[in-house]
């Protein structure tokens, strides 16, 4: 028995190495965990998209569970996501804020007029500086920010029903307790 010990342990070592590499194949290397999770939402202050006389800042988030959706009228995936956001707007547990990223006021307003406006308020970020502060890589992206203003979750791309049901909704219910 003892003389099988070495070959078996070498085989086991190789097997675990293969398992490790196999798991590595399925890791999403493009959408890595945001370093902002668990940290305060980056501070910003921007004009509102629909009313440029008024400002909106991260301080407006305080006391609410905020779903912050980053979008643009030039982003085709945002159109796909839009009907879901319209439904989300009915949810009383959250406040759905928008961050309009690198867009023109005209095109962004037109999209909301044509398709409907799901947002409680939209911050207008034509330069993309706020987007960079939030570490975005592409639109759409969505954050969940708790009542204390801490970022708790980030989703890359359009929100799917699966992500909503399995991750976002349970988190929101937990934060609301």
């Amino acid at each position: 028995m003892k003389r099988y010990l070495l070959p078996i342990s070498i085989f086991a070592a190789f097997l675990s190495l293969f398992a490790l590499l196999f798991v590595g194949l399925n890791i999403d290397t493009k959408h890595v965990r945001s370093p902002l999770i668990g940290k305060p939402a980056p501070a910003f202050s921007a004009p509102r998209l629909l009313d440029d006389t008024r400002k909106i800042s991260n301080r407006d988030f305080a006391g609410h569970i905020v779903v912050l959706n980053i979008w643009a009228s030039w982003c085709t995936t945002c159109y796909l996501e839009h009907p879901f956001l319209m439904k989300l707007a009915q949810n009383k547990q959250i406040r759905l804020y928008g961050l309009n990223y690198k867009d023109t006021r005209f095109a962004a307003k037109k999209m909301l007029k044509d398709k409907g406006n799901p947002y409680y308020a939209v911050a207008f970020d034509p330069s993309g500086d706020i987007g960079i502060a939030y570490g975005i890589t592409a639109v759409p992206e969505t954050f969940i920010i708790d009542k204390q203003g801490i970022i708790r979750f980030k989703h890359f791309g359009a929100i799917t029903l699966k992500v909503w049901n399995e991750k976002m909704l349970p988190l929101i219910q937990k934060l609301n307790r």
Binding site: R3, T29, K30, V32, R33, S34, P35, L36, K39, P40, P42, A43, F44, K102, S127, G128, D129, G131, I132, A133, Y134, G135, I136, T137, A138
Partner: protein, 173 residues
């Protein structure tokens, strides 16, 4: 802990303000010209600093390109941000910290020594130690076996060697 958290909040606030507020329209104009290769930094040292940072940072949108070579819109915006930091006389470390704060270590090509990649950094050392331990155990076992053979009388030793040789043949070790 609370103090560390407070410090962090302050850090985020100040760094965000630094970028949003301190850049003058002239600086922004200069940086967009620099990024579009229409202009160079007035200061050669700053030019060098700017280029060196672009080489070691990843375009988060297209991970196999550095910020220096990527044509993505976001890469352009990040180049402008770095350019403004350089004009604002930030050190390399400050500029890199700013990028990491928003995009994580992912934006760096050179992995840093942080808890999430201790395994990556320490695996070679651990494996080497593991090998050394096995080597040591083997050497010791062999030496002990030899000592045992040396201790028995010549007759028995010859018998034993014969047995061992036979054993080796059978098992091919």
């Amino acid at each position: 802990m609370v103090r560390a958290k407070l410090l962090f909040v302050l850090l985020i606030l100040t760094s965000t303000l630094l970028h949003a507020k301190q850049a003058t329209p002239e600086q922004k104009k200069l940086c967009s010209a620099i990024v579009n290769a229409a202009h160079k930094f007035p200061d050669a040292g700053q030019e060098k600093q700017f280029r060196s940072i672009l080489k070691i940072t990843r375009c988060v949108k297209c991970p196999n390109q550095s910020l220096e070579s990527s044509q993505a819109g976001l890469a352009n915006d990040l180049r402008v941000r770095i350019c403004l930091s350089v004009l604002g006389n930030l050190t390399n470390q400050q500029i890199i910290d700013d990028l990491v704060q928003h995009y994580g270590d992912y934006i760096l090509y050179d992995p840093r020594f942080t808890p999430s990649n201790y395994l990556l950094w320490l695996a070679p050392v651990v494996l080497l130690l593991f090998g050394l331990v096995i080597l040591f155990i083997n050497i010791k076992a062999k030496a002990q076996a030899k000592e045992a053979i040396d201790r028995i009388d010549p007759d028995q030793a010859r018998k034993l060697e014969k047995l061992l040789a036979k054993n080796d043949e059978e098992h091919g070790t």
